[in-house]
């Protein structure tokens, strides 16, 4: 109880400490988004190994589709990293006046929002895996396969971009303060 009391006291007196504590938590939370690209790229790599095992002659084409697909699947993890770095090194809320509870919530929320990256990461990785598999079967169709794969992955990124926009709004526009 004493601890809680002193915690609240610090929070009321020193808003910057609140923001720094929240930023530490939120940058960690944001990186949970890395789960998605991890799983997704694993799926793509598995399909790559499988396809090369079947069709070793077309290793170059298969590897190219796998690498491109995986690199796109990494986007959500990169978004998480950008938000975490902003929180740690360029926190725009530091020095802002306002209710410390709202500041705390804004910072935590910006990190939490980036967890949404799990979805696009896994989904894009799945698409990369399918593209890799299809290239292994029909290497002649590589460019059409890649076009459809990249288009689908770009559409699949949309929710991750929504999350990034909300995260950046919470940090830079801070509509709740």
């Amino acid at each position: 109880m004493r601890l809680l009391y002193s915690f609240i006291e610090t929070a009321v007196e020193n808003t910057d400490a609140v923001i720094l504590a929240a930023a530490a938590l939120a940058s960690g939370l944001a990186m949970i988004g890395g789960l998605g690209p991890g799983v997704g790229q694993g799926l793509a790599a598995g399909q790559g190994a499988h396809s090369v095992g079947r069709n070793n002659k077309k290793r170059g084409e298969i590897t190219m589709v796998m690498l491109l697909g995986s690199a796109v699947a990494e986007t959500s993890g990169i978004f998480s990293l950008v938000v975490a770095l902003i929180l740690l090194y360029a926190n725009p809320l530091l020095g802002r006046e306002g209710a410390s509870l709202v500041l705390f919530g804004s910072v935590i929320g910006s990190g939490l929002s980036m967890i949404a990256g799990i979805g696009p990461g896994i989904g894009q990785g799945y698409a990369a895996g399918k593209g890799t598999e299809a290239t292994g079967r029909r290497p002649g169709e590589q460019s059409s396969i890649m076009r459809v794969m990249l288009l689908g992955q770009a559409v699949g990124q949309t929710t991750g971009i929504y999350a990034l926009i909300i995260s950046l709004i919470l940090l830079f526009a801070a509509p709740l303060l």
């Binding site: 090194y89 949309t158 990034l164």
Partner: protein
């Protein structure tokens, strides 16, 4: 950590414009590319010398890539794609040289390039489809999807720019941490991986996605 913001090299007196590292390194890259283009295309011969051979290889590969990715009838975009790729190849890998900072790790560079690609794509779509066809494409397949189409179009430059920026700035921070934690261990392998490999892949992806979207702009 001050590494996230590029250093200011000098300030233009009078109008107080800060010229950062990003701009100066971009000038150097522009100079390198211009000089290479001038030297390699001066007195062209039927039997090409070494430099002319290199230039021909670059042009042929770009045309092959554009043809292969976008289908025939898009050869006119080869100069744009080639310029974009050459600039990105040099910009993304500039961090290999000690003391240089990749211009791509400053958000302004990827944002500007993504904006250029976005404008090229929409100008081409507008040009090919005409006003009515262009406007109608936002209401396809059903008018109800207009907000989704609009957000999808606007999300393209955002994801294109942030993907490049995030990768390059991530590499910058990681290398900085390696330098501060273990400067004695020559970080050669991290440099090769983060600057060369990641930089080349990101340059390629940027060009590939631009080409893919360009070819879809007329569908």
């Amino acid at each position: 950590m001050n590494e996230l913001v590029p250093r200011v090299i000098f300030v233009i007196p009078g109008i107080e414009i800060k010229v950062t590292e990003t701009v100066v390194i971009t000038w150097v890259i522009m100079a390198v590319l211009t000089v290479f283009a001038m030297i390699s295309t001066r007195n062209l011969k039927k039997k090409p010398g070494k430099i002319q051979n290199a230039a021909e290889l670059i042009v042929e590969y770009t045309e092959w890539l554009v043809d292969n990715t976008m289908g025939s009838g898009f050869k006119g975009f080869a100069p744009y794609i080639g310029t974009l790729s050459l600039y990105l190849l040099l910009a993304n890998t500039a961090g290999v040289f000690p003391g240089l900072r990749s211009p791509s790790s400053d958000l302004n560079t990827p944002a500007a390039l993504a904006l250029i690609s976005f404008l090229v794509i929409h100008y081409y779509g507008f040009y090919e489809k005409g006003t009515i066809g262009y406007v109608r494409s936002f209401f396809a397949p059903v008018p109800l999807l207009f907000p989704m189409n609009l957000i999808g179009e606007l999300a393209f430059p955002v994801s294109l720019g942030f993907r490049l920026f995030g990768n390059m700035v991530g590499a910058l921070v990681i290398l900085e941490l390696i330098y501060s934690a273990a400067p004695a261990l020559a970080p050669v392998i991290p440099h090769i991986y983060f600057d060369l490999f990641a930089g080349l892949i990101q340059a390629f992806i940027f060009a590939m996605l631009t080409m893919t979207y360009l070819s879809l702009a007329v569908d």
